[in-house]
């Protein structure tokens, strides 16, 4: 037993449901008690989904507990088959069904006799894998199923597409900025002269999965979901894959070069160097940003990073390598992938933290006192408590992390978005700090409501000049504090001396 208040990755069935409901016309039936269909609420709220989430429950209640699910699961599957005519129904076990140890495989077999839809049982163990691992497995399972099916029916297409093409693997519902990333990657592929063969699972139809082998290679942008599928396709069809996350200027270039290498190995003569140079120097603003004075001011500032493997690793590299920020520690909650994470970030941070305990992370932040945090919603709240700004870079996320505006993290536009995120986090911190220096946030006695320059107090010329030198965004506050100080002491004219005395008094 473990005392837990908060978890970073959800239970296994969430991963399976994310995959199933990412496909078009695939329905998931959970074998679960009443109330476990909270996934539908999350999808409907966070993604602001217009359609009904294709997930229903075959309810496990007291009767099921006494006598087993029996025909109930089978009936629910065949009923859904009639009602919605899905292409595939995925029976999804939950923690409850994994202890009941009912023969769900058998129900699936029975149900598939009577349904037009394909039926499968998601092969995930609730107590062994989490949401992310389950998603990875379920995607592979579905792909395998349809490749085998096509092979059996002899309609597996032979050969490759005429032009170089790619499958983008791992875009899912409820994934962090996945939809925007997907658009950005498609655009990137277009500019590289590569056709997008299929994007899976988001928006894909299962009957098109047999066309996966027609692509020249696979691109797996996220570490968490898609690698198992890419591995399977590599073993089965000798399809090469690229698993470099194109996040940040350097990594995007590295990803593009790896793609170029693959295409060249396949006899296509491509050279992406000019494209990379042009994008880096003139299209993306991130490289220029890193040379600008703004970014110079960030040099050596302390930051900490925490999130899933993909985003935490990429962010650490961007901060350290591209912006000169001092990453004190970087961490991930993907414990099962610890080795990879350590390899990726070890040269870019002082220390590495791998934990699923949010308390450890909170303590580590408090101890480090960084100027900015890049983490999940949990770290954002730690930041709030400690007065440290936080940029959210990974799930768990809230509705505000599903923006409707275009906000990719990947590709060249992604580098711009990340630069904004980083810069805004730090300037906020700086602004806060300046406010602190010049007298804090709360002026208990409000003297002027507005920040207009006119007042009844007299300022001599020198003091007025000095006031003008105070950064604009705190000037009003400094002026009010100084005037309040003078008024309290019945000083009629504000001189330099009064000005400094006021600053000291407020600071003390």
């Amino acid at each position: 037993m473990k005392l837990a208040y908060w978890m970073y990755a959800g239970p296994a069935h969430i991963g399976t449901l994310r995959i199933a409901s990412s496909f078009k016309n695939v329905h998931a039936i959970m074998h679960a008690p009443l109330g476990d269909d909270y996934f539908n609420v999350m999808r409907s709220m966070l993604e602001r989904e217009r359609d009904f989430t294709p997930v229903t429950t075959s309810v496990v209640d007291r009767h099921v507990l006494a006598g087993g699910s029996g025909e109930k699961v089978v009936n629910n599957i065949t009923r859904k088959d009639r009602e919605d005519k899905p292409d595939l129904i995925v029976l999804t076990p939950t923690c409850t069904s994994s202890i009941l140890q009912e023969d769900l495989e058998n129900f699936v077999e029975q149900a598939s006799l009577d349904s037009k839809s394909d039926v499968m049982l998601a092969d995930v163990n609730h107590y062994r894998v989490n949401e992310l691992q389950a998603a990875d497995r379920t995607l592979q399972q579905i792909i395998k199923f349809y490749i085998k099916k096509a092979r059996k029916h002899g309609n597996l297409p032979a050969g490759k597409t005429a032009k170089p093409s790619v499958n983008i693997i791992g875009m899912t519902t409820l994934g962090f900025h996945n939809q925007h990333d997907c658009t950005e990657l498609k655009k990137l592929m277009g500019e590289l002269g590569i056709e997008v063969n299929l994007v899976i699972p988001q928006g894909a139809h299962v009957e098109t999965l047999k066309d996966l082998p027609k692509a020249w290679f696979n691109l797996v942008p996220y570490r968490e979901v898609g690698l198992m599928t890419a591995e399977y396709l590599k073993t089965e069809f000798d399809m090469p894959y690229v698993d470099i996350t194109p996040m940040g200027v350097v990594e995007t270039a590295r990803c593009i070069r790896a793609i170029g290498q693959i295409l060249n190995d396949m006899g296509q003569e491509v050279d992406y160097e000019d494209y990379i140079t042009n994008q880096t120097l003139y299209v993306s603003e991130a490289a220029w940003f890193s040379r600008s004075i703004d970014c110079q001011n960030l040099t050596g500032k302390k930051a900490v990073v925490f999130g899933d493997s993909t985003h935490a690793a990429a962010m650490t590299k961007v901060l350290a390598r591209e912006m000169g920020i001092h990453v004190v520690w970087a961490g991930t909650y993907c414990k099962y992938d610890e080795e990879w994470f350590r390899r990726e970030v070890s040269e870019y941070c002082d220390e590495i933290l791998v934990t699923e305990n949010h308390g450890d992370i909170g303590d580590a932040i408090a101890k480090t006192e960084p100027a900015a945090i890049f983490g999940t919603q949990m770290e954002r709240h730690v930041g709030k408590r400690l007065n440290i700004p936080c940029g959210v870079i990974a799930a768990p996320i809230h509705i505000q992390n599903f923006p409707i505006g275009y906000k990719p993290f990947l590709g060249y536009e992604g580098t711009n978005q990340v630069a904004d995120l980083v810069y805004n986090s730090f300037t906020l911190g700086m602004e806060d700090h300046l406010l602190e220096i010049f007298g804090g946030h709360d002026t208990k006695e409000v003297i002027h409501k507005g920040i207009s320059a006119d007042s009844d107090m007299d300022w001599d010329r020198e003091a007025k000049e000095l006031l003008q030198k105070v950064p604009g965004f705190v000037r009003g506050k400094v002026k009010r504090n100084t005037e309040k100080f003078a008024r309290d002491r019945k000083i009629a004219l504000i001189t330099l001396e009064v000005f400094y005395a006021a600053k000291e008094a407020v600071g003390a």
Partner: protein, 469 residues
């Protein structure tokens, strides 16, 4: 016009498949830990339970809540680990970090299936660590959403003291009385006591926010009815005295088990009344209590009329509009009855579970209200089937659907206005003065519709999309 008035219809009840969306009953910890200030709720379950709580409670999770998961691991399931030792370790940690006056164990589906004997383990552990442990089996195998509170309060009912404590302790315990007396002198309090009619002790049950408790208690005080205690009280240490022969009355429709426990185990007499939701419900609730206590109610008709008058602006928006309650929190019958009185037409009342005995007075009141308003008597659908309900909604095209968040956005995208049902459980909806809050919720989508009228984008789903209704 028909010349023959047809016989008024009676309520009809149906029962569907139970394939509907609702919250897991463990969600009751969200409001109970806030209500019972010295409690700690330990939910003994899996990651699934934890994930639900974490997401359903939104920002509350960041406020160092007084609840946690005892997350079961593979070793617990396969009984490699000793339940007692594991729970002891966790409870000692809670005692050390939070020092609560009670730890409430919430049993879940998993503890049911692996038959973890929480009721057997708790007395031993209670003795060993010196903190009361209350066990409530609020699991999704047996219950829906608000019924979670019912299981907790039923367990708490067993802990209410039999005898009034010694004087010193009494002051602290009798919180409601001192709240109502506002620290007055003893003579004044005695004078006040005489303002109450001579009636047997009355204890209310149901968790409500403190302002609502005060409001309802004062409402009864006006009639000379004294509320001796409230289950639950602000603190566990202030649980009310309950003796054989006391009267009890519920404030919420989902408290069947608590009512049963109070009657059978604590030998109290239950006052079966409609629930104080809406001015009509509040009046009927007070009247019923008065009649049992042998008090002649006064000024209630005027009070009710006055409230209705103040609601007129909202009533104009809802009159003649139809409403479909999909059913997920057991407040449905009371809400529907209030909305019929407001002039709405109720198409269907979905409800997770219907206790016809506990809700008898409310059901009768609903029927009567329909007849008085000349409204059709709605069908009550127990254990509804959401898929079938969506089909019926497609058919009827109601003006408003009260439903869970899983269906709200998809329905809105299809041009059907919705109100999120869970808000009714978290808003203050009891008593005369909160009637406006109910209508504030109910009219919100209607007011939004008026504001966005004429823009031409009500239906935002592509032709041919699934369930395109």
């Amino acid at each position: 016009m028909a010349t023959v008035t047809p016989e008024p219809q009676a309520l009809s009840f149906e029962c569907e498949t139970g394939n509907y969306h609702t919250f897991c009953p463990i969600s009751c910890v969200a409001w109970l830990y806030q209500k019972i200030e010295d409690s700690f709720f330990l939910v003994i379950g899996t990651k699934t339970c934890g994930y639900f709580l974490q997401n359903a409670m939104g920002v509350m999770i960041f406020a160092e809540p007084r609840y946690a998961m005892a997350e079961l691991e593979e070793g617990d399931i396969s009984a490699k680990l000793n339940d007692y030792e594991e729970l002891k370790r966790l409870c000692l940690q809670i005692k050390r970090d939070r020092n609560p006056s009670v730890i409430v164990w919430i049993g879940t589906c998993t503890t049911e299936i692996i038959k973890m004997d929480l009721e057997g383990l708790s007395p031993r552990l209670e003795e060993e660590i010196g903190i009361p442990i209350v066990v409530a089996r609020a699991n999704g195998l047996d219950y829906a959403f608000t019924q979670g509170e019912d299981t907790v309060l039923a367990a708490m009912a067993a802990r209410c003291p039999n005898e009034a404590p010694e004087e010193a302790e009494k002051k602290e315990r009798n919180a409601i009385a001192s709240l109502l007396n506002f620290g007055k002198k003893k003579e004044e309090v005695e004078a006040e006591e005489s303002a109450y009619a001579d009636h047997p002790p009355l204890v209310m049950f149901g968790s409500l926010p403190d302002p609502v408790v005060t409001n309802l208690s004062l409402e009864l005080k006006k009639q000379g009815i004294k509320v001796s205690g409230w289950l639950p009280a602000k603190r566990y240490t202030e649980l009310p005295v309950i003796k054989e022969g006391y009267y009890t009355c519920g404030v919420n429709p989902f408290l069947s088990r608590t009512a049963t426990t109070l009657m059978r185990r604590r030998k109290t007499k239950l006052i079966g009344a409609p629930f104080p939701i809406g001015p009509d419900g509040t009046r009927a609730w007070i009247e019923k209590i008065c009649s049992v206590m042998g008090v002649e109610p006064k000024g209630l008709a005027e009070r009710e009329a006055q409230i209705w008058e103040s609601l007129e602006d909202y009533l104009q928006l809802v009159r003649g509009k139809s409403v479909f309650l999909m059913g997920d929190n057991l407040l449905e019958v009371s809400l529907a009855r209030f909305l019929v009185r407001c002039g709405m037409i109720v198409n269907e009342i979905g409800i997770p579970y219907m206790d016809k005995r506990y809700q008898a007075a409310e059901l009768k009141f609903l029927e009567k209200t329909c007849h008085e308003m000349g409204a059709p008597v709605p069908t009550i659908v127990e254990k509804p089937d959401n898929y079938n309900q969506i089909e019926r909604i497609k058919e009827i095209q109601p003006d408003l659907v009260i439903t869970g968040m899983a269906h709200a956005n998809p329905l809105e995208a299809r041009g059907i206005s919705t109100k999120w049902s869970v808000e009714f459980t978290f808003a203050q909806i009891h008593g005369f003065s909160n009637a406006r809050d109910i209508l504030e919720l109910v009219t919100r989508p209607l007011r939004r519709n008026n504001s966005l009228n004429g823009l031409g984008w009500e239906n935002l789903v592509r032709e041919g999309a699934k369930h395109n209704i």
